[in-house]
């Protein structure tokens, strides 16, 4: 196999104005070392062979491109395909990237891996590959997310990882990432930081994109078989940091003709409420976690807390390449509220027997709006980035909370 080759970033790690390396100087030599190692191994047949073997034998790739016939009929428009990343080992797209980085870590001779996690999907996938490869593993997770995602916390512990709950700031993914970076600055000589999304200083956004591009490349091949053409008319994916979306967008983004690429951000309680994660929809250019990106911050530049019902989208920034796509019009970015996402969650569960991750439910919800406006011969591909098992308790809690005034005084059923 080969990893894809894209025109961006430039040698300075920039996508236009976005990206770069805004980190403490202590880390710069490590980033230079990592860039050199990645540039070397991405052309190394042994490394690529091992990566491909694990993707096939361990992750279970290729993941199916499933024609969602019931959903298509129900919505009455474009044909809808689901790229089933939820069927990967560990239940999400995250492992495509984690495996690639962990194999790089081993070749660089580092024995300890650090990760941040929001929903826990990335943490679980890092804990998994660390177990597989015999690496010491520390995962930082916001204390609020530790509460929301207890199942994934236990999973990581079963896999031998140490989960450190982060109590600072908003106690979510943003602060977990700060803490992971602090650990990395301190232990930079012997530790490898496996960033879970297409964020962070160069070369992380490019590396994570390259590893996730297997998703979009498979879509092309699978669609060619099923529809006789490699390009769908629209590709829809949820966007927090943006790794599943970039994986399915990038293979299409720099080509002509280019399908509509639609990134779905979490609109939370709605843009007007201020409680949302619309980094592109409502953010400005700024710097967080080492790169320039669209970002939510106040007039003084203080980062504003994001909100989403889904922990994986609860992030105030978005990857630099998405920022570039948005600025250049290579992709569109829209918002889906918590309520709409919950409807998407129920819709896919009932019609297709698939519980989507709350993150992916945002993409489903947007497809439900778009498909009826399209023709039956047109094709939408939704990246079903993860499975919803981890979210069942949270969905139950939220649905009970919203059952309205009649639910008051119900007492005993409340889930704390």
């Amino acid at each position: 196999m080969q990893l894809p080759s894209y025109p961006l970033p430039d040698p300075r790690g920039r996508y236009g104005d976005f990206g770069g390396r805004y980190v403490p100087e202590t880390l710069i030599p490590a980033l230079e070392e990592l860039t050199a190692a990645y540039e070397h191994f991405k052309h190394d047949p042994d490394y690529l062979g091992e990566y491909e073997c694990y993707l096939r034998e361990y992750v279970g790739r290729p993941s199916p491109l499933y024609f969602a016939e019931n959903l298509t009929r129900h919505l009455g428009g474009a044909k809808i395909y689901l790229k089933r990343e939820d069927l990967n080992h560990t239940g999400a797209h995250k492992i495509n990237n984690t495996l690639g980085q962990a194999l790089l870590c081993k070749r660089m001779g580092k024995k300890r891996v650090i990760a941040e996690t929001g929903a826990g999907q990335h943490g679980v996938s890092v804990a998994t590959v660390a177990a597989l490869m015999g690496l010491e593993c520390v995962v930082y997770q916001g204390a609020e997310d530790v509460r929301r995602q207890a199942l994934n916390v236990f999973r990581m512990q079963l896999l031998g990882a140490e989960v450190r709950a982060v109590e600072s700031g908003t106690r979510t993914l943003k602060d977990a990432t700060n803490e992971a970076i602090r650990d990395w600055v301190t232990n930079v000589r012997d530790s490898f930081y496996i960033i879970g999304s297409v964020v962070g200083p160069h070369p992380y956004p490019a590396m994570a994109r390259d590893f996730q591009s297997v998703v979009g490349e498979e879509v092309k091949q699978q669609l060619l078989v099923k529809e006789g053409r490699p390009n769908p008319d629209a590709v829809i994916a949820c966007v927090g940091g943006g790794s599943n979306a970039i994986g399915v967008f990038a293979p299409f983004a720099y080509q002509q003709p280019r399908p509509r690429l639609i990134g779905v951000e979490a609109a939370g309680h709605g843009q007007a409420s201020g409680l949302h994660s619309l980094s592109i929809g409502a953010g400005r250019k700024g710097v967080l976690h080492g790169s320039m990106m669209y970002l939510l911050y106040d007039d003084d530049g203080q980062i504003q807390p994001a909100h989403s019902v889904s922990a994986g989208l609860d992030y105030p920034g978005v990857g630099p390449e998405h920022s570039y796509y948005a600025e250049q019009g290579l992709a569109e970015y829209v918002g889906i509220t918590d309520d709409e996402a919950l409807e998407g969650f129920k819709l896919l569960s009932r019609l297709e027997g698939i519980l989507p991750a709350l993150e992916s439910a945002h993409a489903i919800a947007y497809a439900a709006k778009l498909a009826p406006e399209m023709d039956p011969e047109q094709v939408i591909v939704i990246n079903l980035s993860g499975r919803g098992d981890k979210d069942v308790v949270e969905v139950m809690r939220v649905l009970e909370e919203r059952r309205g005034p009649s639910a008051e005084g119900r007492g005993p059923q409340e889930v704390a």
Partner: protein
């Protein structure tokens, strides 16, 4: 007093310069000013921290202080007012420590001009390697602010050669790979690191991160021209201890000739 004069005066007295760190708005506006009054007699230069929501180069003590200052409602305009008040108390060099996002949010020119007008001497930018945005650095110089960037034990000679020329104030050398926070002892190898840096710049070199007591101050003074004390002061405040004994101990450690 210029930055150069401040370091030279300390050297003339046979010691490394002492650079206390005071965070604007911590524990509140009045309290920060009170802290300044207490540290000024010991200070050769002063570092003023701008509280930030995501201080990823800082350890838990400065993070907590940041959160508290922001909870008190400290805004950028309050930090500017604080700098003006401090400037009215002293002519010593004042360096503003800020992460880059507040600079971007305000607009670099506006940010720099406002702090220059308030009386700042220079800027310390911990998450901006200067080659990441040379235009922004030049803009600061154009406004009349000095710039200080960080170098670290992990810095290669190539990085030192890149960063050091941009340090027009002083060079802030991080004592350890890590985040800010008081330590009992600094790692070996600091004199060699500072010597490598001095091959690329005539600017004074200060050591920061971990300076907390006589031992660490002495290690810093043996290696460099100055030392920053930050977390140890905030920790003393948190624990309700007076700042003076901490400052006095560190100051004693900064004298060069004596050895115990």
């Amino acid at each position: 007093m210029t930055t150069r004069e401040a370091f030279e005066r300390a050297a003339y007295e046979g010691r490394a310069a002492l650079i206390p760190y005071v965070m604007a708005g911590y524990p509140d506006a009045q309290g920060a000013l009170e802290t300044v009054r207490r540290v000024l007699p010991y200070a050769d230069l002063l570092e003023i921290g701008l509280p930030y929501s995501d201080p990823l180069g800082d350890g838990p003590v400065i993070q907590r202080a940041s959160e508290r200052a922001l909870r008190q409602g400290t805004r950028l305009k309050d930090v500017l007012e604080f700098v003006r008040q401090v400037r009215s108390l002293t002519d010593k060099p004042l360096f503003i420590m800020t992460y880059i996002n507040p600079v971007i949010a305000t607009g670099p020119r506006r940010f720099f001009e406002a702090f220059k007008a308030a009386g700042a001497t220079g800027l310390i930018l911990p998450d901006l390697p200067p080659d990441e945005d040379p235009e922004l650095v030049a803009l600061a110089h154009g406004v009349g602010l000095e710039t200080t960037f960080l170098l670290a034990p992990t810095s290669t000679d190539a990085r030192i050669a890149t960063v050091a020329p941009h340090c027009t104030g002083f060079v802030y050398t991080v004592s350890v790979a890590g985040v800010t926070g008081a330590r009992d002892k600094l790692p070996d190898g600091l004199p060699e690191l500072v010597q490598r840096i001095k091959q690329h710049t005539a600017a004074p070199v200060a050591i920061g991160f971990g300076i907390s007591n006589q031992t660490t101050a002495r290690q810093a003074a043996q290696a460099a021209d100055g030392a920053v004390i930050a977390s140890a002061l905030i920790r003393a405040h948190e624990e309700g201890r007076p700042l003076e004994p901490v400052l006095e101990e560190v100051r004693q450690g900064l004298f060069r000739q004596v050895s115990v």
